[in-house]
Subunit: 223 residues, 2 copies
């Protein structure tokens, strides 16, 4: 028999899935690609978004929802790049949920191309919550080590792409790049894998092209 | 009115606190210091434990409980240092709980000096769960960035000490060391703060001395 905790959790996930489906439909109807970025704290989600803002902001209309336990720090960094940003502070909750995105929805400009959602820094809990995104990216930074995919499999299993960040540290840290890619692909063979440094810009271009192509496919009438 | 989720959570935390108090009493009765290590994935908890094993293992009897979602990887690394280690794989749960420690308790040698518990890599959820430790350490690695304490305050608020790890990267990464210390101390002025590199060994000695002193105090009859 399932205990009370499991039953409550299943009910919460069920109601989250319903709201997420509504958010996804509403975004795609406006030709907006929702992108959910998940990772450990400090893997470089905000720095990657700053680079996306600079490099994609000229040709596309972007907005960002930032999730954190406390502080407006990340939203302030994005706004400094001229991109509209909303900060959700969860107060203590370890992940974002679809209803939090739904609450911001009325404020989102209807003519966007991309809505990025930076989840709370946590490689575990966010993986269980669909936010209504069409593209889910898991980030893993080089200094976190190359043994992480099998230790935290759900994030890799549920993602569409893996972005290995802070590649500028590859020459000075012990790191088996091919090994970590293979381990992630063993968990989820459908993963698209990118290796980049948001600090130096190395490897960013293929990831930006992937974002653009993924959006075109997602909003096409045949999708 | 509180919703069902909050009520279930409070009941779980209440029952966890009771088990944790029993674990703590049982450990201290045997003059064992329980140490709970919490951090993001990849902050260097296992590497720090490997160093502790090498440097403290000669004079003190150590054992380690490893918490992970999946894999025996971390326990295998500790056993390779000649230290007994138990691996808890939570299957999906994002933190350890006191009852998981209690289940291992009968297997723990009674003549230990230190029982280290490496929590699941997660800077959020583990902070809410007392495991029966007497000393709680939060680790924060330099590459995670210097903006983390106020974004994840509970881990810093509930810890006895902060260990800033991977200090070998300080010369090459932008990082405000004094700023991050001050921010952590603003949240919790009682924190003891250490800066070290488990890779080079720099700064380890003061932390090891702190562990030894903390144990002596905790097991003294006046404690």
């Amino acid at each position: 028999m399932k205990n009370k905790e499991v039953l409550v959790r299943e009910a919460l996930l069920g109601s989250n899935a319903k709201v997420a489906a509504e958010v996804r439909r509403a975004l795609l109807r406006k030709k907006i690609l929702g992108v959910n970025l998940m990772s450990s704290p400090g893997s470089g989600k905000t720095t990657l978004l700053e680079q996306i803002a600079e490099r994609l902001g000229g040709g596309y209309r972007l907005a960002v929802i930032e999730g954190d336990i406390e502080t407006e720090r990340d939203a302030a960094r994005i706004r400094a790049k001229g991109i509209p940003a909303w900060q959700i502070t969860t107060g203590g909750a370890c992940h974002l949920e679809a209803k939090m995105i739904g609450r911001i929805f009325p404020e989102i400009p209807p003519d966007l191309d991309f809505l990025f959602i930076e989840n709370v820094g946590n490689l575990v809990c966010p993986a269980a919550y669909d936010l209504g995104e069409s593209l889910r990216c898991v980030l893993l930074s080089v200094p976190e080590g190359d043994d992480k995919p099998k230790k935290y499999p759900k994030a890799f299993l549920t993602a569409d792409c893996l972005v290995i960040t802070k590649s500028d540290l590859l020459p000075i840290l012990p790191y088996d790049l091919e090994g970590v890619k293979q381990e992630a692909l063993d968990i989820n063979p459908r993963l698209s894998v990118f290796v980049l440094s948001a600090l130096t810009g190395d490897g960013l271009e293929p990831f930006l092209q992937y974002l653009v192509r993924f959006r075109e496919k997602a909003i096409s009438p045949d999708a």
